[in-house]
Symmetry: C5
């Protein structure tokens, strides 16, 4: 499995290496069979919604005064993405970044729009962390979102648009951007919750359940997951901060409070991550202590047994010698006296170990 | 118990996940049966105090020139909180944050008021750290405080208002805000004091009292408590700093010295926390050393006993052999000579170990 | 003793907790029986010096053009301190800070004066670190100093004023402030020197002298002392820096070079503290290594003895068996042959261990 | 081999020590036999390419409006480099830095050009990291590159110029500089990928393959490689940042987006390096745990064997004694009774160890 | 030796403690018997050089337009230094710092000159690090240097002045200052090179050569040396930075490029120091692992020997019992059967350990 992962990574890098800047190459693993295009167009009075079969259909929404949200699933349909790029006049580097799924989360400010790359994260069925790239372009009156595959993260938001829940229908594209980011950040709570449970479970297992190799492996896995999550979530702080501080006309004054709120959530998530990180390192220490304690106990058992019986065995050995002239052997009570001596030594030793609190 | 905690947390997150931004959901655990509302209205000459039965009663204080302090206990009475929000014209995000008790301490500056979230912390009877959220809204002439449950933290302050102790009655709402924060920060000293005592007790127990598993568990608990306290207290530095540096009309020049004073207290508390943190890590090291020392001692006992008796037992074994022709056995003094040899070896070994300082 | 310290600390916090801000409560442990008041009044031509019996006597110096240095020993005389506060128009928080000896070193800038809190540190006779609070108020033409008890730290400075040594008599109150701080900082060198000696002594003892529990205890004590010293000295960097950078009329341009010089000393002291800190942690590591080495040696002795004699004892055991038919036993040279075999095994083992460098 | 490396380094330092600033001394190890000079001259319409035999031939390109890229392989040809320096009016320190291959990556801004030093890094056949210095001078209309030896890192770029792939032919020398740096940064991905594979391989080997000394050595090697890579790559962040933020006329506005893109790549690479660094330290911990676990297992085997047989051997010893009067020996069933007792002890011990989970 | 060092240090501090600021006390250990004064006076056309017998002779160079470099060896000649101070109008604190050799490297900017304190570092014959203070005063047209004792670090520079090598004769006193600092920084390379060799040697010795106590001692020494070097070199970064950024008339624009170059060298040296620092800590870890590995091996030998022979010895013990009725003993083949059983057990054990990879 380790082999598999490393091969996959190699492949991605290879794709990237030596390629012309500006060339579009999808570096992800998901080859969607069909392109999914979904468009929303709404204002406070009305909304339109459509599943489209080609990107050209979406362009009619562009110049309307209403807010347009255009979502694309399937980054392997490079041609379609290029068409969108041309239509919305996107910089070539943006298109390159959309399809290169090994991007770090970031924000790029262009004259007419923001480009934002985020990471969706969730645990799959086999309890492994999966990270999917979501790219967003937000301009006046429109937001474009690009996902690797269909997920349900934005479904709640869609319902809110359809049924005019909350204030989303009353606001512009900046509030839509906020709502999209908020939906992704909300899902990070599930990640850190699962991570917290994993740590607590492992903590319980330290003293009881698993073999030492399993524990060692699990601690290592947790460390690696934490590193992966950190890398996906930490850059968000700067992204949100720059959106909040942005002075252009794209983000309205009243929306910055909402971005401030997301920022607080991000800080909370990253603080939790750092706490878990520290707890995992602490687990490692506890585990080392547990091992040392166990070894200590093993040593005590050995020492007690050996220390009690070694002198007794010596005494028995002495009277097993075959010397002609050994007066004790002739003594009719000799055998009983030896037993008394040996029992006395035994008791003495036990008392000694009791005092040392080894027993 | 670990299971219980994790379930509770899961629940809270679930409540949050996918909810419409702006919707009020109380995420705490305390379901107060009755709403407690308490209002103060004072200036240098006079004061009024009342336990109210509904929030509407409080609104008559609003427009007076006097300073109004309105305290609400019971965050599960969402309707009442919404009414206050409407009356005082609070931003929807503020109401959401008041009832969401998993907030990180923070300050939000709005045009007409400050919104501040703090954490009350105390050890309950079972010596566990409890953290309760206190939210404050401070505007011109009024301060609103929202608590999860009735506590006695502000009682001293109430007495000072009633009996005109100190300068509180002579000052405005900014000084009241200072006094409220100061009351909470003062309680942090009790926390760090208890934490300090716990560490010192554990330090004494390292060499004597508890079993190794208990010590290991207690160190882990202390680490977790420190992390929890840090998370609740560290953001306060920035909060107070921003209040002190605030340039709007809400905080008067002369009050900034008082905020500076609280700031110094916070720094003192956080420094103590960091010192305790370092001491706990250091305890872990000492504990590891203690274990190693104990193992060393066990090993020495085993080694001394084994090393002394192994050659003696060998000698006894030799003369227990049944060879026909063993001249020593025929020697009438043979037995005594062997004893002398064995005693000599014994003494030699003891001297050797004395020199090595193992005895 | 640990108990005693923790009780004292509890007491101090209790005193503080719930007290009206602005109320004066002395939180130190030293109850001076008599108030000591000492005043200096000097310019380049002349100086007056007096031991006063009440603070009122000091007030006549206030309005003179000459530089006045007024020193008070005994923070438990709260009334007197309050009188000074009224006379010099000091902010209530300053008076509170003067008598609250658990202050962190700090500087507060007021309109007409600076308020500075420092920590005098020295090792007492029982080699424990003692920290005493020294507060200073520096205004135009005067410096007030408040000490817990009479110390000799400023005696050198007094001599210099009396005998016009150096430039102190030619300069204003800002130079006097510098000279006072410099005197305190100079004493920190004695602290770090003692600390350095302690570390070197302990380093020597690691391999020879003390029992393992004593070493463990001493390392822990050193760590705690370092933490205490750091806490007292580190804030000074910011204090001096702000004095140097101060732009008001209180600090003259030409004096900033002197503050820069003190600043360099502070940096030197803090660097030494950090180095000692690192050395103590390093000591801990060395100590762990020493323990492991000792255990290794113990194990080797046991292993060598056991490994050599176990096969020999087995051989002796074999020929101690009582089988009827054991041809070797009948052989008249059997006993000698067995001896030869056993000696050969012995030599073989010794050679083996020599090669492994265990002997 | 360690000796060899240290000698080489010594030599380089010696060369540098005491030399006149401004004197050109090549400090690398590669003595190219022949100087390789390669020139490109292009605009959007046309391009010229030439392998030159002397630097003078290159000078004719200088004053053209077209973009000139002049590449030199072989830093030991000091004379030629000096000629270029004179022709392009380079500061003496630049020439010194070009041939001193122990430079740290850096950027120096001069009035008419940028001077940039980078490190090419790759693993050679024996899996050792090789670092080669590449210096670049970028002025209006020209870029000069200086390499230690011929590599293939810029071949892709040359193809793009020849066949007008991408936008390189449409842009100026700033884009060429970007493309050169991008080519080098792209190669860092191969480094971190190999590093990642090495760590994963070692992780697998921890529990199975290698001897402990080999593992210890490999961990040490990985640590050193990480340190080396960090040192070569981390300064790049500042270099790119300064190029992006540069306000002179050399870097056009539109090119800054491309530098921003390279910056993101650098951040990604450095983040990976830090993650690997943490993973290596974590490996060390795991390895220590593995050793402790193994020792624990060894101790258990010894303890079980010794503890079971020591009492049995003692019993056998007792009945091997030669006392005249030992009634058990006369008992015809004595021998069988002793066997029963010994088997009972044996079973009791095994049950005891099963319960302790040692078996 | 540790005693000696600590006494020396104590002495230095004592000298400093309680001294009047501004009083000149030489705190170094070197009492030069004779004052060495050396003066250079040069411009691009000519140079004068003289060994002077008194500082007064030097003053005639002062007001010339030519660059004057005046070097003094022997800080114990306090009178002479005071005369220079008066003549060049140096601030009293500068004179104090020149003779106080426990200074931290620093730069002080005065109106007419810079004052710089640096540390010369080298390994003496007994491989101990020696640090000597070099102070410099650079004003318009002159540089004064003060050394503890005659060294050869500036000899190369003197040659360059005499023979007009490089550009030194063409430049002003700022370039001379650069050249002096550059000469000192160049010598740091020798330090880090020796340090690097020491680390590599120790690394080789870990697995072979030295006793464990020696290794432990050497690691500790290396740590201390690194700390000492860091303390001497790290402040240089800020010093050079401030020279480079200095805006006064003393440093010409064109010289800043040279200071930038020295700055790069300093960064390179400090990076190497940090790498060595990390390598030493890593060595400590490796050493701990080595110890654990060795203990593991010792334990294995013991366990194998004991585990193989303990059951065999038990069997021999059984047939050494003296029961009347032991049928096996009467069996004429009993002895041989027992041997077969014992050999079978032996082989079984060996196979078992082979499978566990302990053999």
């Amino acid at each position: 499995m380790a082999k598999k992962r490393q091969k996959k990574r190699t492949q991605n890098y290879k794709k990237h290496l030596g390629q012309v800047p500006g060339a579009l190459v999808y570096t992800g693993a998901k080859d969607n069979k069909q392109l999914q295009l979904h468009a929303f167009d709404y204002n406070e009075h009305d909304y339109k919604e459509a599943d489209l079969s080609s990107v050209e259909e979406a362009f009619r929404f562009k110049d309307s005064e209403t807010v347009t949200w255009f979502n694309l699933n399937g980054l392997n349909f490079i041609n379609q993405i290029e068409k969108i790029g041309q239509h919305y006049n996107l910089h070539p580097l943006i298109l390159e970044d959309i399809v290169n799924t090994s991007q770090r989360p970031k924000i790029d400010e262009y004259k007419d729009y923001f480009f934002i790359v985020l990471k969706m994260m969730y645990y799959d069925e086999s309890e492994k962390i999966v990270s999917e790239q979501v790219s967003m372009v937000m301009g006046k009156n429109y937001v474009l979102t690009f996902q690797e595959a269909e997920g349900d993260v934005f479904n709640g938001l869609r319902e809110r648009i359809r049924h005019k829940k909350g204030r989303i229908r009353d606001e512009g594209s900046d509030y839509l951007l906020y709502a999209l980011i908020d939906a992704i950040v909300d899902h990070y709570y599930a990640i850190i919750e699962t991570m917290g449970n994993k740590i607590e479970d492992l903590e319980d297992d330290l003293f009881t359940g698993l073999t030492q190799e399993e524990i060692s492996q699990q601690i290592q896995n947790l460390k690696r997951e934490i590193l992966k999550i950190r890398r996906a979530i930490f850059p968000l702080r700067e992204i949100i901060n720059r959106l909040e501080k942005s002075e252009g006309p794209l983000i309205e004054e009243k929306t910055t409070h909402y971005f401030r709120d997301v920022y607080d959530h991000i800080i909370q998530v990253t603080e939790n991550i750092d706490i878990y990180r520290e707890m995992i390192w602490s687990l490692m220490d506890m585990y080392m202590t547990t091992i040392s304690n166990k070894m200590n106990e093993v040593m005590k058992v050995l020492t007690i047994m050996a220390t009690i019986f070694i002198p007794l065995t010596f005494i028995a050995g002495v009277y097993g010698m075959n010397f002609k002239n050994m007066p004790e052997l002739e003594n009719p009570d000799g055998y009983y006296i030896v037993w008394i001596v040996m029992i006395a030594i035994f008791i003495g030793m036990v008392v000694y170990f009791k005092r040392k609190k080894w027993l």
